[in-house]
Symmetry: C2
Subunit: 186 residues, 2 copies
DNA sequence: CACAATACGGAATCCGGATTCCGGTTGTCA
DNA sequence: TGACAACCGGAATCCGGATTCCGTATTGTG
C-alpha cells in the first residue's frame, strides 16, 4: 500500500471514531471525509460502505472492551467487583460513544453485533465473570450468560435518552444480586 | 365533516395502528394508505405529516395504558402486584407494537414522548403505584418515580432485539425489590 | 528522471421515501 | 334534481444522503 494511502486510512479511522462517537449513526460520510481532510472518494476506497465503516469501528470498540474484561479477570480480585465493574465499564463505553449505544440498542444490526461479541470473546469473558460471581455466591444462581446482552441492550437505550444511566445500572445490578423472590422465567 | 371523510379517517387510523404495530416506524405512508384502501393524498389530508400520525397513535396507546394503571390502582389489590403488574402490562404493550417500543427506546422523539406521558397522567399514576408499594415496604425506599421511564426505555430496546424480555423485566423488578446493598446514586 | 501504477478530490448521479398538486368524484343542501 | 364545496386518488415532485466516476495528482520503480 502506498505511503499516502496508509496515512489517509489512519486519518479516516480517527476522524470516523470521533464523528460517530459524538454524533452517532446519523453522521454523514461527508462529515467524516471533511474531518479527515479527505475527499469522499478516498473514504470510499478504504471502506466500501458506510455500514462497513461503522462495523469496523464497533468491532474495534468491542475488542477493547473484551481486553478490559480480560484484565479484570486476570487481576482476580473480588468476584462481585469483577462482574459489576465490567458491566459498568461497558456502560461508560456506551456513554462516550453514541454510535455504539445506538448499535447495541437497535435491531437491524443485531446480526453482526452478536457475531462481533463472539468473535472478540467478549461474550465468553463476561460469562466467565458472571460464573465466578455466582460461585462466590454474590450473584443469583439462576442468572445466565445471555442475560448480559439483554442488559447492555437496554442500557444502550437508556444512555441515549435519560441522564441517570447510573441509577439504571445499579438497579439492574441489584437485580443480579437478588437471591429471594421468584426465579427468573424461561 | 362529510360522512365519507369520517369513514376514511377511521379506516386510516385502523390501518395505521396495524401497520405501525407490525412493522414499526419504518412503515411507509404508502403502506398505510394501501391498507386503508385510500390514496396517499387522503392520508395527508387527515394527518399533515408522518410524524403527526405516529404521534397520534402513540398518545392513544399511552392513554389506554394510563387507564389500565388506573384500573389497577382503583382495584386496590396487593401493592406489589399493582406495581409490578402495571410495569409488565406496559411491557406487553410494547411487545405488541414495534413502533411504540421504538419510540420509547429512541431519543429524537423524547421531547413529545415525555409530554405525552404527562398529558395522559401515565407518569403520575405509575408514581402512585410505586409509592404505594414503597409504603407497603415491598419496594426499596430509594426508588424514584423517574426510575420508571428509565426502565421502560431500556425495555423498548430489549423487546425489539432479544427474545427473553420477560427475564429482563423480572431482573429489573427484583432490582426494585432489593433492600440491602448500596443505595441508588444521584 | 520518466513512466506506470495508485490514489485523490469532489462534482454528478442515484435512490428511497415523504409530501404536494390538481383534475375528477361524491355528499349535502336548497 | 342541480350546483357547489369538500373530498379523493395517485402521478409528479422534492430532498437528503449514500455511492460512483473520472480527470488529476502522487508515489515509487527502472
Amino acid at each position: 500500500m502506498r505511503a499516502d494511502a496508509v496515512r489517509n486510512r489512519a486519518k479516516i479511522v480517527e476522524a470516523a471514531k470521533a464523528a460517530f462517537a459524538e454524533r452517532g449513526l446519523e453522521t454523514q460520510m461527508e462529515d467524516v471525509a471533511r474531518r479527515a481532510c479527505v475527499g469522499v472518494g478516498t473514504l470510499y476506497r478504504h471502506f466500501p460502505t458506510k455500514d462497513a465503516l461503522v462495523r469496523a469501528l464497533i468491532i474495534d470498540k468491542m475488542e477493547r472492551q473484551a481486553e478490559a474484561v480480560k484484565a479484570r479477570l486476570d487481576a482476580d480480585e473480588d468476584p462481585w467487583e469483577t462482574f459489576a465493574g465490567s458491566l459498568l465499564h461497558g456502560a461508560e463505553q456506551q456513554l462516550g460513544d453514541r454510535a455504539l449505544a445506538q448499535v447495541l440498542a437497535q435491531q437491524p444490526h443485531s446480526t453482526w453485533r452478536s457475531a462481533a461479541e463472539e468473535d472478540t470473546q467478549l461474550a465468553a469473558r463476561m460469562a466467565e465473570a458472571l460464573e465466578r460471581a455466582q460461585r462466590a455466591g454474590v450473584v443469583r444462581p439462576d442468572a445466565r450468560p445471555d442475560d448480559i446482552p439483554l442488559v447492555m441492550c437496554g442500557l444502550g437505550a437508556v444512555v441515549q435518552n435519560e441522564r441517570s444511566w447510573e441509577r439504571y445500572m445499579r438497579l439492574v445490578l441489584d437485580g443480579f444480586r437478588a437471591r429471594d423472590g421468584d426465579p427468573l422465567p424461561g
